[in-house]
Assembly symmetry: C2
Homo-oligomer: 405 residues x 2
């Protein structure tokens, strides 16, 4: 029993773009055939814009067989076993800027320059394939269905029912709403009701941000970008990922749907203490806010109390600093993640990076953050995870404090 159950709250899977064709509804395949080369070209341009095409190509060299785990069942099992991971939560977009569903149905779920019907079609194609992938190892894989929920709430609720019936465990919602209704709008109540009743975790995953502000036009456009664009992007992107939570909390969503589960994934966890302090301070009416009238009576709890009860942080790529802040963040609200197979993730140095992050902390706290919290939140079968961990999990002794670090 000295091996830890590790659950990665943030992994990715996706087919090579051309292979989504067979999962699409037949009426969209002709459009797919026309759009595919354009999509591939745009993804390549975005990679060039970030000036990282060479870096990523270098990183991938010699790892092709393991990266195939982005879509291949057996390769994926082998890689996760090697990384010591018993269970995983699976988002779209397998390898960064590749393996993304068609028609703008990938992680960022934009609301501009997409056709809603096609985006839905791309999302459904991915969800069908993902359900198959998860069914091959249902005790280890919690799949997250893509749901472009901003266009039509009824259609979204139907997709949630489909996801539940096909064994998926959560839904990915757009972080940014563009000109559509933000998440405090009461029109979304049936969506939250369905998440709660079907026990599907609602996810916001880091990535989207107003790239046109940073790069002087679309991230996909040709041409030189503005100085500092990348620095601004990586400084702001977590805020855009957390932003929906501000709308959910103040909108009273957790008041009306007390069993709703929300995960904020790959947006770091360092923002949590100051964010909750800010919201609680705003919730406690002060002389400075009295002029605003009543804006709290629809909420029976403080923002930090809703957070503690309803929200988990998918803490991918978790640095030591965040482990040190675990009590301010909430030990029970942190879920470590490996971000496989993304190059910013911990794979293939997961053990080393885990040790760097968690060394010397109390065993029970490590166990909660690297797996126990996620296992409970997503409803994994604990006995099944234990059997897998006994074979592949890291030994707790590796976290023993050592004086030379």
């Amino acid at each position: 029993m000295s091996r830890l159950i590790v659950v990665s709250s943030d992994c990715h899977a996706g087919l090579p773009p051309e292979r989504y064709r067979e999962y699409l509804d037949p009426q969209h395949r002709a459009t797919f055939d026309v759009a595919l080369p354009v999509q591939i070209q745009m993804l390549q341009q975005a990679s060039a814009k970030f000036l990282v095409a060479d870096i990523n190509r270098e990183w991938r060299r010699g790892r092709e067989a393991d990266l195939a785990g982005a879509w291949d069942h057996n390769a994926r099992l082998r890689v996760l076993d090697g990384d010591g991971i018993a269970g995983e939560v699976i988002f779209p977009d397998g390898i960064t800027e590749m393996n993304t569903p068609p028609f703008g149905a990938g992680l960022s779920l934009p609301t501009e320059d997409v056709v809603p019907e096609l985006q839905w079609a791309g999302a459904r194609a991915h969800n069908r394939w993902l359900a198959e992938l998860c069914a091959m190892a249902p005790q280890r894989r919690a799949g997250v269905a893509i749901v472009p929920a901003l266009w039509d709430v009824d259609e979204s609720v139907r997709e949630l029912q489909w996801a539940r019936e096909h064994g998926l465990r959560g839904v990915l919602l757009p972080c940014m709403w563009g000109k559509l209704a933000p998440y405090h709008h009461p029109k979304y109540d049936p969506l939250w009701a369905a998440c709660q009743d079907l026990e599907l975790v609602a996810h916001f995953h880091s990535g989207p941000a107003p790239a046109e502000d940073y790069f002087g036009g679309s991230m996909f456009a040709e041409g030189a970008s503005l100085p500092g664009a990348v620095g601004i992007y990586i400084s702001e992107v977590a805020w855009w990922n957390v932003r929906p939570l501000t709308f959910l909390i103040w909108g009273g969503i957790f008041e009306r749907f007390p069993r709703l589960k929300v995960a904020i994934t790959e947006g770091t966890s360092i923002w949590v203490p100051s964010y909750l302090e800010l919201l609680d301070q705003r919730y406690s009416v002060t002389p400075y806010s009295a002029k605003l009238g009543d804006y709290t009576s629809h909420m029976s709890m403080k923002p930090s109390e809703y957070f503690a009860r309803n929200v988990m942080v998918g803490a991918s790529c978790m640095p030591r600093r965040e482990a040190e802040l675990r009590h301010e963040i909430g030990v029970g609200n942190i879920m470590w993640g490996s971000d496989y197979p993304h190059p910013e993730g911990s794979w293939p140095q997961t053990r080393e990076q885990m040790v760097e992050t968690f060394r010397g902390l109390p065993r029970a706290e490590i166990a909660a953050m690297v797996g126990g919290n996620a296992a409970a939140f997503y409803g994994f079968d604990g006995d099944a995870l234990r059997r897998i961990a006994d074979r592949v999990g890291p030994d707790h002794s590796m976290f023993a404090a050592s004086t030379d670090r």
Copy 2:
């Protein structure tokens, strides 16, 4: 010498709307006559939308003579003397949602639903009047010129020269750029050069935010607003105020203009430690960010170092918690403010609120935060301030720690 020199880094002044007419260029007066009733109606609707018209009316009752200090020289001197304030930095928009310049030239400087030429005309009208107001007490008043800088950089630089020649000490820039170029764009370099060379502090003042996201349409539109709108607004508004700083730091503006002074005003100061930690962490390339390529070599210092050297926080309505965090924020970067004559400000309880915030702290630190920092940053005449403070300033003994609090 036991009286403290107090400088408010955040006060407001503005004419009753109809009195801006005489300060407008003559060719815009006919348009002004048509627009004035519409402006007044929109401001009243906004007040009603926030459900605060009654609260503000009640707050103003019996204070009319003192609130006239929003535009009246003698009333203003009397009120500031009574509040113990020797010097002040003056922004537009005298009394909240009233006394704002015409044509969208007030604090929020929107880029939509305005005509650039008219917004400029409104700004110039205010700047002319403000220069007169400041000239009546130049040792006590540092006026901030309104500069809608996003439309035309050359025109902005000319207004900066006018402001300098007419004794103003800073410029107010829009926090939000809409569809125009953000502040890391090199086209703004002449603006930063002019701020630096003319010794004008560049300001971003809290207030603007994407109200259409919160209220389901313009803040000025009729109709019921969405639940939680006010809570979201007050939770996000400081972020929108700080956002330009992220673009300035990563854009290398402080690298190219090392003597540029920037103040972030009325956005609280509680964000500073976590903000700087985030930016410094992003600046230090990690395994997680290596895939992004080189995005730091144009900056010779860490983001927190630029902040310490170039940026001050106008900490209006400063709660005790922020005084406790002063070393993490930077004792030398905090400038207390009263926000007179806004109802969320400390007036007319300035002494009581100052004591609540600063009681028991070291004298030198209090002196720096309540006045010394601002006096140096804005170039006030220290001897003149001392003479005024000897007459009106609060006695330091009021900050002595007491055990019953």
